[in-house]
Amino acid sequence: MAQAIHDRGGWPTDEPIDMTEHGLADWELLMDAIVGALGARGVMNVDELRRGIESMDPTAYEAASYYERWLFAVETILAEKGVVTPDELEEQLR
């Protein structure tokens, strides 16, 4: 089995590593807080979060930022648990 997209230690690359600091957007801070709250309330844990991230389509994974991956994982896990449905999320975005 090929290594999963997240398991990339030792992958060859000629790309420079971006070491620049960057600020966090408000939604990213909120994303962090939501995951903390979900953990504190026992709704989902960090291992589930990671499993959700690892379940991303490889192309989407590469394109996503750090907290976009968290958002994907929270949506995935909460939908799996029946806490929210994809339709409910879609409704809120209209």
Partner: protein, 95 residues
């Protein structure tokens, strides 16, 4: 399953595949290192990732690896090392 390692023991990281969530990095699978520290037992992320309670807790070890063991083409100092936390059920005794 083996276990009960102590500092200085040689161990090999299992090269088995595991399609589910696990914390053993692919680049360490099949590699041999040395137990450097015995950590506590921690709930198992491999089952917690699926909503279970992670019991029984699994012993975690700090394992040291020589870099040329991990990457054969490594050209840095020959005594450069990498330390990684690896759960007991991924470790086997090595000769």
């Amino acid at each position: 399953m083996s276990g009960g390692f102590t500092p200085g023991d040689k161990v090999r990281v299992s090269d088995r595949t595991h399609p589910g969530h696990h914390r053993t990095p692919g680049y360490l699978k099949g590699k041999t290192g040395t137990i450097e520290r015995v950590h506590e037992r921690f709930s198992n992320p491999e089952t917690r990732a699926y909503g279970e309670d992670g019991r029984p807790a699994q012993r975690l070890y700090l394992v040291g690896f020589e870099l040329p063991e991990i990457w054969s083409e490594y050209r840095g100092a020959t005594d450069d090392r990498l330390a990684a936390d690896v759960f007991e059920h991924w470790l086997e005794p090595a000769p």
